[in-house]
Symmetry: C2
Subunit: 212 residues, 2 copies
């Protein structure tokens, strides 16, 4: 890796660090891009060469989790029912979260708190989730052998996303709390749903196409 790339990586993390520090101390809205840039001693224009918007900084941490989740889902065995695969992917993501050292965990939780306490960030966060949902739908559809445009895979993912939002939403002061909520929600979901609900109904007898 050349000097150039190293330098870029350095300013990038410096910008993130400076930004989060300011966001957490003064609040997101009260912090200007100029202030962030000043701390890292770059021009405000440079900030926008690294990040498309001010929102992107706090959201990038959340986005990582979602990428992780998607990767885990893709790694689940094909035979596994879609909803189970989603839940297991989530378990694995939560496991990684629990494995974080205290500094990293604190940063994650603070960022989460920052997002949920800032209306503008909530909006952006929800859209991030909504975008990620599409990819989850694609993967679930693949597993079901259905099309991503159909309602069934969307239904499954929508239900899952709802659980995820409930886990992370509203002041999770601890990773343990998130895990605990998830366990409760998983039990709630599994107790509410009929076995096999997450696979599309096989065509019923009268409308089944004969094997040819």
């Amino acid at each position: 890796m050349g000097l150039r790339e190293r330098k870029k990586e350095r300013t990038r993390t410096a910008l993130i660090d400076a930004a989060l520090e300011l966001f957490l101390s003064k609040g997101y809205e009260a912090t200007t891009v100029d202030q962030i840039a000043a701390r890292v001693d770059v021009s405000p224009r440079t900030f926008f060469r690294y990040f498309a918007s001010k929102e992107e900084i706090p959201l990038s941490l959340a986005a990582e989790q979602h990428e992780h989740l998607l990767a885990e889902l893709r790694g689940r065995p094909d035979g596994e029912p879609p909803f189970t695969a989603l839940l297991e992917a989530m378990e694995s993501m939560l496991g990684t979260l629990r494995g974080l050292d205290d500094t990293e965990a604190a940063r994650f939780l603070q960022t989460q708190e920052l997002i949920h306490g800032t209306p503008a960030l909530v909006s952006a966060y929800l859209r991030l989730i909504s975008d990620n949902e599409r990819m989850l739908v694609a993967e679930v559809a693949r597993r079901q052998g259905t099309e991503p445009g159909e309602l069934h895979p969307r239904f499954v993912v929508s239900l899952f996303t709802g659980l995820g939002l409930m886990c992370f939403g509203r002041d999770p002061e601890d990773v343990a709390v998130i895990t605990q909520r998830f366990d409760q929600l998983r039990a709630l979901a599994e107790g509410s749903l009929r076995p096999g609900w997450d696979m599309p109904a096989r065509p019923s007898a009268e409308e089944a196409e004969p094997v040819r």
Copy 2:
């Protein structure tokens, strides 16, 4: 109603009309507040005395639907299971939508399309839904006799909101399409869920409090 109030109402609707017209022809981002104000012949400053933000105009139409939904839910009989009450409230809302004359229906659909085709509006729309969700949770909790902070009412509403999003999301070119999707989703949900799932589990025998 005095002249003053009539005048205010007139400029308000004029602003909405002008804004939507511009949004639909040139796109949301390409339309500036100055242009909207110019069409109605008021100062840009006045625009912001009527609307807190540019987003508020397209979102106000969606917000009306959500208020309607909440009102319908509150009107449902107390004995009805929460999820059924939510679905029936939605049916009623869709009924009102079908009862719209062609002009109003077209406007609603175009606005919906505008929102879903504009990233900034999607964000705001999702937050609107999320905010409204809290009120639905409060009402469902009341019906269940649980607290709004508990997971069960949230779970019920989250599932319902997911259905709602799927109905309206992605180019619903017709109110009939929305209705159709809703019917399918309702069938899907009712086929996937166990009877009585939307009422909190009564305490099981060993931990049940004796009647006193």
